[in-house]
Every structure is written in structure tokens, then in C-alpha cells.
């Protein structure tokens, strides 16, 4: 089963590419049904207030309006919190963030719906809010839920952890302020709800149809079986469509249930930017020490996540941040404390990397600063401290299966960076710098989320030897269809175009959890392999009969069944025809679940993840020393991927991750005033353009097999994690300054140069 055969590692055309490129793919915004109504949401424009009264009667009378729904009309729970029940679908007496939902509107046109929604404006009594996550933890701060704003604390305690005893020859203390980030998926949040008697169908742009199924069943008080959720073609997600789509889906479902008509809800970009979840802004305090030979002695990390007004997935994000705070370095004494603070800011949630990019940024910045204080080359300093086969433990005391891959990724990225001839795109007068950053990525869900880590697959073998596959994990642009197609074709020895993979639907596959944590191809691929193994219990005996061999000697390759070891063969189509003629069951289900692990939450010791992947990015930048502009000239990215499933899809993940992280590092700034986003459009929330994208040299190292199908490892998130720190380190090297915040916008860089800037007198 694990034999490596085509199309594994190749670059056949992605199955969804042509339809997407030619506009045939129908996104939710392209769907319309007769009688369909358009939904809009009335939201709060304050971050913290009591709602004194609000009147929806006049909105009900506005042109085109068919229904206005408030909290008291919800048949089930008025609750959409995924982990904690702290978030109402519709607020009644209090708003905690700009964008809290007050009422839902269905109208004949989108304009009428949004006009009516905007007309709903309650009488508020403003309450003091809290907008700084560290201050939010002060006892005197106004609280959002209960008696304080501390949602949760995670820790890693290893070796000596009493701060008074943590001493070293060289100690670096640093304070990092790390901004949040919008997902900037091309397709804003979108869903369509169609009621039908006592059941309802939702088509949604999402990463987890099952979350939506649960949310809708809960809000409408109907059985899970009465809610069908179809994964719609999804135009990007990056975590922003993990848990969040349950909220718009519950809204559309409520309105559809009330009006008994199809209801479609599309967010505008501006609305989407303001109200949906974001990468958590974080404040990270470091105290790290090394001896004079350059060995790390201890690392103390205090991280605070700005959770926003509701818990959402913040605890699981913090859980990953907590154990990712040290990176791929062997440090004997570790004290990490990760706290989550409620504030009245934007709503923090899942985003590619899930808390790891922020803490990795801090770790890799501190590594550079320590190296400088020691008078060492940052590359050499990293080499000395990387995990190795003789020192293979992560910060949670978990032995790594392939610790040597840290060094391998570092060496490869440095080599690729040195060998790459940079065609400079910035003027010669700009300063040049190179930065390095590594990541140690725990693949798949953390122990805390392991209960979600299972996956379902259905394989239906057709009489013409083509195959229909359904998996429970979704395509959102990342290439899961291509990955599953590749795995299926390789396992059955057939051409990829004979395999059609369909998006999940809660009526065709079992709950497979969310498509997150770089688990898509891993978990769905493993489930498909299980389904194929079960299918072969029925296929192999037929093939064996035709071949005149024992079933255990049947091998599938080159669209044939053959006797293993090079014996006779028959076309697979003869076998499938024979199965059809004999009416043998050709549908098979498959299942994957990860093995239980041991992890002590109090100390952070144990096995948070089943396995790990390494990555290293080396970035060359040019910096305009007067204006603070940064041009990323080249990125060398080396990734420990175990096995390449689909090459261009894998390379695309790395390139996309790099560019997305570059935006976070340099230009994407969520500007907030009392919880309100001041730049809710792409005019002023600046994601990189194609002209800003650097050349990326991608190395996919296949030396250490992982636990995914054919030895593959998750790649989506590690592609993002190292870049921002490498850019920061390169910028700091170019200018010989230390800047400990993100994003590094030109004013931030110029400000950091202040004393040395030619026009410093203008900066007052």
C-alpha cells in the first residue's frame, strides 16, 4: 500500500483548476433560487455598551423587508460559542464588540436588507471598555464576562523554572508587540439556507460543514440529521472559515426558518473585515539566557493573546502558541506562560499557524538578538542550539522522530539563498540584509483538540474503473481535492483523471472535524487509504481469480491488476466489470483517527502532537534607509514534508504562505479606535500585490517520512510560520537596529532609526 507510484510527487493538473480559471465554478454568491431572500445583519457600532431598548418595528416596515428577527424569536439556544457558551447569536442587553449582532433582516434585495439593518439602531448606554490585552488583566479593568478578563492560562515548565534562579552569561530581555491580521480570503463569508419542511440545507463557504450543522441544529432546536450542510466551492479561508461561518449560517438558517424561503447571506468586504475573526494580536515578553559558548541556558516567555470579546477558538490557539514558544531549539530550562485576555477589540480566531507565528516571531527575533550580544553569527548560534539526534527533545520533553531535519532545513535554505542569483529589484542605494528563521511545527490537532481528529471517506468504484471519492475535509483553495485525488490514484494505480473527488456534505460523510491544523491531506488521505484497503478485500479476490493467483499477491499499478513481482496482469477495468457483473458491493467507507496521547496541561509536558515538521526560511531584503520601505528580494524556503503528494500544490502552499506572511510582517495593519476598525477595505488594509511578491526558492525535503499518506506531512501552516521573523531579522540586519514589533511599516522603521536618521529633526 505504501509503494510510491504515479502520480505521487508529480504535477498533474489540479482537478478544480480549469473550472475556477474559466469561471465555471459556482460560489455561493453565484447561486440564486426562485423566491430567494437576501439577509443582512444589524450590528452594534459600539464596542462596549448596554442596550437600553431597540425598536425593529420601523425596520419591518421598510421597503422590501420580509422579516426582522430578534433574540426572543430563536427557537433553540441563542448561542454560537464553539467551546465556551459566551457568545449569543443575537445580543439582548449588552454589546461587547463592534459588530455584535442585534437583529437579522430578510428582504427582497440585498440593498433593502442592508438598508433596513442599518436603520436598526438601539439606544445605548456606553460602558467603559478595555482595548489593551495586558491592561485587561488588571483587576481594576472593566470585565467582559464574569469577574475578570482572564480566559485561560497555559504553561510549559521544564527544568529549573524559578525565575530567580535563571541566570546566564548573556541575557536578553525583549518586549514584542505583534499585530493581528485579517485573512483577506478572496471570497468573503457567504452562505445559502434552503428550508424544506422539517429540514434545512445550507450551502456554505467554510472549513467545517459539521460545525455549521451543529450550530444550526442548536439554534433551530432540530436534530442534527435534519440539517444538511454542503461545502460550497470556497474562495480561500486560512482559518477564517473554521468556526466563524457557523455564525452567518445560523443567521441565514434563522431567517429561512422564519420566512420559509431560501435566504442568502453575503458579507461585503467592509463588513467582513470589521466583524469576522482575526489572527490574535499578541504581546510577548522574553527573558532568554545563553552561556558564553553560545548554548541556550533558559527561556522565559510571557505571552498574552488579545482574544477580543468572545472566546471562540482562542483557547486552542493559545494552546498551540504555548508549546510553540521555543521553536526547534534545545533549551534545558523553560518557563512559558500563555494567557488569554478578553478585550473589546476585534474577535481573535483561527488563522494559518494558529498562534505559532506570533510566538515564533518572538523566539526567532530573540535568537538574533542573543547572537548579536554574544558576538556570534546568528546562523552559527542557531546551529549550536538546534535539536539534534543526541538532544532530540522538544520543549515539552517529547522526543522528535527526526530532529536532524532542523539542521537539514537550515542548511538547505542557507545554501539555496546563497546560490540564488538575486536580480535586485530595489535601487542600489538601499541597504541589504539577510534574515533566518526556523519553525518546529506540531502537525495536526493539539492534544486538547484531539477529540476532533478523525476523518471519514467514501470510495465508490465504478464499472469503468473510475472512482468517486468523498472525504470529510474540505477544498478551500489549498489543494485538498488534488491531494486526495493523488492519494487515491496512487493507491489504486490509476490515472488521476479517473478519480473524481467531491466536496463534503454532512449527508454523505461522517463528522470529520474541521479542515485545519494542516491536517487536510493527512487525515482525509489516511481515511481514503483505509476505504481502499477495505474495498480491496472485495476486489482482490476477483482479480486473483482472473489472474489465477492468490488474493494477497494482487498488486494494482498502471491501470492494471497484476501478480506482484512482475507476473501476468489484467486491465483494472476487466476486474471492475467483473465485480459489476457479479453485483459485488463497490462502495467502501474509510476512517482515520489519531492515537491517544499523554499530555499534562499543568506543566505542558508530554505529547501535544503526534509528530512534527521542520521549516527554515532565509530572506533577503532591501530597505530604503530614508523612507523605511522594504522590498523582499528573495526567500529560500526549505520544508521537511516527508513526501510530496502533488508538487505544484505543495510549492504553491509555500509561496502563498510566504507572501501572506510578508503582508503580515510589512503592511497589514488593523488600525483600531475603541474596537472599531478604521481601515476596513483593501484601499487601506494593504495585502501584498503580485508585484510585491518575491521570488521563492522552494525546497521540499523528503528524507524523514511522516504519518500522513505515503509518509507525507502537513505543510499549509509551516509555510507561513517562519517568514515574518526572517523578514524582521533581515531588516534589522540591514539597518543595524532592533525592532520588536509587527508590522514593520515604513513609519515604524524610520522611527526606529530616529537618532541616525538624516531628517530626525522632522520627526518631533
Amino acid at each position: 500500500m505504501t509503494k510510491i507510484q504515479p502520480p505521487l510527487g508529480g504535477s498533474h493538473r489540479r482537478p478544480d483548476a480549469m473550472a475556477k480559471a474559466t469561471g465555471q465554478t459556482r460560489y455561493v454568491g453565484d447561486l440564486a433560487l426562485p423566491g430567494m431572500l437576501h439577509a443582512a445583519i444589524a450590528v452594534s457600532d459600539r464596542a462596549s455598551a448596554r442596550v437600553l431598548n431597540f425598536d425593529v418595528a420601523s425596520a419591518r416596515r421598510m421597503p422590501g423587508v420580509e422579516a426582522v428577527v430578534t433574540a426572543d424569536e430563536i427557537p433553540g439556544d441563542n448561542q454560537v460559542g464553539v467551546i465556551f457558551p459566551d457568545q449569543p447569536l443575537l445580543v439582548t442587553d449588552r454589546v461587547r464588540m463592534v459588530g455584535d449582532r442585534l437583529a437579522l433582516v430578510a428582504a427582497r434585495t440585498p440593498e433593502e436588507a442592508w438598508d433596513a439593518a442599518r436603520a436598526i439602531s438601539p439606544a445605548y448606554e456606553d460602558q467603559p471598555g478595555v482595548f489593551d490585552p495586558e491592561k485587561a488583566l488588571d483587576e481594576t479593568s472593566p470585565t467582559l464576562h464574569g469577574t475578570d478578563n482572564l480566559l485561560h492560562t497555559f504553561q510549559v515548565l521544564r527544568g529549573q523554572t524559578d525565575p530567580d534562579h535563571l541566570d546566564a552569561d548573556v541575557i536578553v530581555e525583549a518586549h514584542y508587540e505583534i499585530g493581528g491580521q485579517d485573512h483577506a480570503y478572496l471570497e468573503p463569508q457567504a452562505c445559502l439556507a434552503v428550508p424544506e419542511g422539517d429540514r434545512i440545507t445550507i450551502s456554505a463557504s467554510c472549513q467545517c460543514p459539521f460545525y455549521i450543522q451543529q450550530a444550526v441544529a442548536r439554534v433551530l432546536a432540530i436534530p442534527l440529521a435534519s440539517v444538511r450542510v454542503e461545502q460550497a466551492p470556497t474562495g480561500g479561508a486560512f482559518g477564517g472559515k473554521e468556526d466563524y461561518p457557523s455564525e452567518p449560517a445560523a443567521c441565514a438558517a434563522m431567517l429561512a426558518w422564519r420566512t420559509r424561503r431560501p435566504v442568502r447571506l453575503l458579507y461585503s468586504r467592509e463588513f467582513d473585515l470589521q466583524v469576522t475573526t482575526k489572527r490574535h494580536a499578541m504581546v510577548v515578553q522574553h527573558r532568554w539566557g545563553a552561556d558564553k559558548n553560545g548554548r541556550l541556558v533558559f527561556a522565559e516567555v510571557e505571552a498574552v493573546l488579545d482574544c477580543g470579546a468572545y472566546a471562540g477558538l482562542s483557547t486552542v490557539v493559545a494552546e498551540r502558541a504555548n508549546v510553540s514558544a521555543i521553536g526547534p531549539y534545545a533549551v534545558p530550562n523553560i518557563m512559558v506562560r500563555t494567557r488569554i485576555a478578553y478585550t473589546n477589540n476585534l474577535f481573535g480566531g483561527a488563522y494559518r499557524g494558529f498562534g505559532a507565528p506570533q510566538v515564533s516571531f518572538a523566539a526567532e527575533a530573540t535568537m538574533d538578538t542573543l547572537a548579536h550580544r554574544l558576538g556570534m553569527d546568528p546562523l552559527e548560534f542557531r546551529r549550536i542550539n538546534l535539536v539534534t539526534p543526541s538532544d532530540p527533545l522538544t520543549c515539552t520533553d517529547q522526543p522528535l522522530a527526526a530532529p536532524q531535519m532542523a539542521q537539514a532545513c537550515l542548511d538547505r535554505a542557507v545554501k539555496d539563498s546563497e546560490e540564488h542569483q538575486i536580480a535586485p529589484r530595489a535601487p542600489d542605494s538601499w541597504r541589504r540584509g539577510r534574515g533566518i528563521s526556523l519553525a518546529l511545527y506540531g502537525i495536526n490537532l493539539h492534544r486538547g483538540g484531539q477529540f476532533l481528529d478523525r476523518s471519514s471517506a467514501v470510495v465508490i468504484l465504478q464499472p469503468d474503473a473510475s472512482v468517486i471519492v468523498r472525504v470529510g475535509l474540505t477544498e478551500m483553495g489549498q489543494g485538498n481535492l488534488a491531494a486526495v485525488q493523488t492519494v487515491t490514484a496512487a493507491a489504486l494505480g490509476i490515472q488521476p483523471d479517473k478519480v473524481q473527488v467531491w466536496q463534503p456534505d454532512t449527508t454523505t460523510v461522517a463528522d470529520s472535524g474541521p479542515t485545519v491544523a494542516s491536517r487536510g491531506s493527512h487525515s482525509s488521505g489516511r481515511a481514503v487509504l483505509d476505504a481502499i484497503e477495505r474495498l480491496r478485500r472485495r476486489l482482490d479476490p476477483i482479480a486473483a481469480e482472473l489472474l489465477g493467483c492468490r488474493p494477497e499477491d494482487v498488486e494494482l499499478a498502471d491501470s492494471c491488476a497484476r501478480v506482484s513481482g512482475g507476473g501476468p496482469s489484467v486491465p483494472l477495468i476487466d476486474v471492475t466489470r467483473e465485480m459489476a457483473a457479479r453485483r459485488i458491493e463497490t462502495i467502501s467507507t474509510g476512517w482515520y483517527r489519531s492515537k491517544p496521547r499523554v499530555f499534562d496541561e499543568a506543566t505542558g509536558m508530554g505529547e501535544p502532537y503526534a509528530s512534527y515538521a521542520m521549516a527554515c526560511h532565509v530572506v533577503d531584503v532591501a530597505v530604503d534607509p530614508d523612507l523605511g520601505l522594504v522590498r523582499v528580494e528573495h526567500v529560500a524556503a526549505a520544508h521537511d514534508v516527508g513526501r510530496v503528494l502533488h508538487r505544484t500544490a505543495a510549492e504553491g502552499q509555500v509561496e502563498g504562505g510566504v507572501v501572506q506572511a510578508m503582508g503580515w510582517a510589512l503592511t497589514e495593519e488593523l488600525k483600531l479606535d475603541q474596537g472599531r476598525l478604521l481601515n476596513p477595505s483593501f484601499t487601506d488594509y494593504l495585502i501584498p500585490t503580485s508585484d510585491d511578491a518575491p521570488p521563492v526558492t522552494v525546497a521540499l525535503l523528503e528524507d524523514a517520512p511522516g504519518r500522513g499518506p505515503f509518509g507525507s506531512k502537513g505543510l499549509g501552516e509551516p509555510a507561513f510560520i517562519p517568514t515574518a521573523a526572517a523578514i524582521r531579522n533581515a531588516v534589522c540586519a540591514a539597518l543595524d537596529v532592533e525592532i520588536n514589533r509587527l508590522p514593520l511599516t515604513p513609519p515604524v522603521i524610520v522611527r526606529a532609526l530616529a537618532g541616525n536618521h538624516r531628517f530626525k529633526h522632522l520627526m518631533e
Binding site: 523612507l627 503592511t667 487601506d684 518631533e764
Partner: protein, 285 residues
């Protein structure tokens, strides 16, 4: 995109457009629509009567006596590519090529860029520097407005109710020896200027500046000329001392504010840097 407009009037000739607009100055002229559609999304102009100028605006670029006349409907792409303009006013071509990115340049018109009167309008500095005339068409026929008198504040211009921009006239009898435009933003394309600058210089055989014009965008309530810069340059060669005087002088010409795109202090630093770099380039040229 669904926009809520009341109706759209599509005249068959420019004269018809002028007549209709004079009768009904509350109509909203639309040319390329690249500003209007964004503003409509933000909720402006609900229920507007649109006056569609797209088929009727003059859009040719032609020499006329001592002028080059650019039809208000000329697109940024046409301007950037225009041979005559490139030889007499390269700065305008450079600015046009920096508006948004190419797809926008194929729709965005010069008239729209001026009428919209953003402090960051990229074609404004080169037109100010070139002493351009904005030709307005109204009931009484055509009248010329000096570019410097055209901008009245953010989003405000000095067209009278019922007037349309017909064309822009650039005096070209005495083309400058140096003409440049540059803009600064956090990205290379598709970016609104944080500071923009255009300078034109006439240099005599001895390398002395005989005439200087400079203008900046996004550093005041309107795009504006920089008279102090001009004053310190005229009569001097572009030596380091003159350049550093100009770099200091520009601070007197600008009144930047802190806004969503950049703090005022950064705009001051940027204006100094851009002036210095452009003059250094001119001195080498």
C-alpha cells in the same frame, strides 16, 4: 455590484451632456466610475441620477497652438502611452502609469481624477507644475480655470454647478529640461499616495535653474504647488547646497496631518527625501 441609482441619463453628444447638466446640476456625472463606484459602495449618492459621460467626453490628445489639449475622457493608459505627452510632459505620463494598476488605468479618466479632487490625486502635481488649464464647459460655453485654482479642499473643486470638465490644456511652447513625478506608498502598485511629488526645471547652458516648478500631493488639504522650493532653486545650479535649501524649504510648503495612511511627521520626512532625491537626479541629468 448592485448600486442603488435612481436612473442613468446617457446623452448622445457632449453638448447634450452639458445642456442636461446645466438644467439639472444635481445629476452625478460619471466617467470611468472608478471613484464613484467605490464611493457608492460606501453608501454615498444613494438614489443618484447618473449622467453617463463615458461615450461623449472628448478623449483625444492633440496639439493645438502652443498647447496640448487632453480630452477629459482620456484614460490614464492613453495618457501614459501618448507620444506627444511623453516628450513635453513626461511627469504626467509617469503619474498616469502610477494610478492604481493597469486595469484601473484603462478606465480611470483624467477629468475624473481632477474632479474628484482627492489631495492624493496623482495627476494633480504634474498638472500644477505644468501650469495647466482646466477647461470647464457650462451653459455659457467654455472657460479656463488655472490648475492652481481648481482644487478647493478634499473632494472639493471650483467647478460651478452644472459645469463639466471638457479638457485639460498644457502650455508647451517652452518644455522643461527636466520633468518628473514620483509617488510613495507602502506598495509598488495599487496604492494611494502617502506623498507624491512632481518637479519641472528649466536649466540654462551654465546649469543654472531659470525656472522651477514643484508640487506635492497628500501633504495638505489639496494637491499644491511648493513656492518656497521653487524660490530657492531659481537662479542657482543644482549643487548640494541648493538641494539642501530646497529640502528645507519644502517644509514651509506643506501642512500634513496624521491620518490612516501615515503620521504627519512621516510625510514631512518623506517630502524632504523625495525632493532631495528628485533634485539629485536632476543634477545628474
Amino acid at each position: 455590484m448592485d448600486l442603488s441609482v435612481k436612473d442613468i441619463y446617457r446623452p448622445l453628444t457632449f453638448d447634450e451632456a452639458v445642456a442636461a447638466f446645466s438644467d439639472e446640476p444635481s445629476m452625478l456625472p460619471i466617467a470611468g466610475g472608478t471613484d464613484i463606484s467605490v464611493q457608492m459602495r460606501a453608501g454615498k449618492f444613494a438614489g443618484a441620477h447618473l449622467l453617463d459621460l463615458s461615450g461623449v467626453l472628448p478623449r483625444s490628445i492633440s496639439a493645438d497652438g502652443g498647447f496640448i489639449e487632453i480630452g477629459a475622457g482620456a484614460t490614464m493608459d492613453e495618457i501614459a502611452d501618448s507620444g506627444p505627452l511623453r516628450s513635453v510632459c513626461p511627469a504626467l505620463c509617469q503619474a498616469a502609469r502610477k494610478v492604481g494598476a493597469w486595469p484601473i488605468q484603462c478606465r480611470a479618466t483624467l477629468g475624473g481624477n481632477l474632479a474628484n479632487a482627492s489631495p492624493a490625486a496623482d495627476t494633480a502635481p504634474p498638472l500644477l507644475v505644468a501650469d495647466a488649464l482646466v477647461v470647464a464647459a457650462g451653459q455659457g460655453g467654455l472657460r479656463n480655470i488655472e490648475a492652481e485654482d481648481f482644487f478647493a479642499g478634499p473632494g472639493e473643486n471650483t467647478l460651478k454647478p452644472g459645469e463639466l470638465i471638457h479638457s485639460i490644456r498644457l502650455p508647451v511652447t517652452d518644455p522643461p529640461s527636466f520633468s518628473r513625478f514620483t509617488k510613495l506608498g507602502w506598495q509598488r502598485e495599487q496604492i494611494i499616495s502617502v506623498v507624491s511629488l512632481s518637479i519641472s526645471l528649466h536649466l540654462n547652458d551654465q546649469g543654472l535653474v531659470t525656472k522651477a516648478a514643484a508640487a506635492l500631493g497628500a501633504v495638505a488639504a489639496t494637491p499644491k504647488r511648493a513656492p518656497s522650493v521653487e524660490a530657492v532653486l531659481v537662479g542657482h545650479s543644482l549643487d548640494p547646497a541648493a538641494i539642501s535649501r530646497a529640502v528645507e524649504a519644502v517644509q514651509n510648503d506643506i501642512t500634513p496631518i496624521d491620518d490612516i495612511r501615515a503620521p504627519a511627521w512621516y510625510r514631512r520626512v518623506a517630502a524632504a527625501t523625495l525632493v532631495e532625491r528628485m533634485l539629485e537626479e536632476a543634477s545628474g541629468a
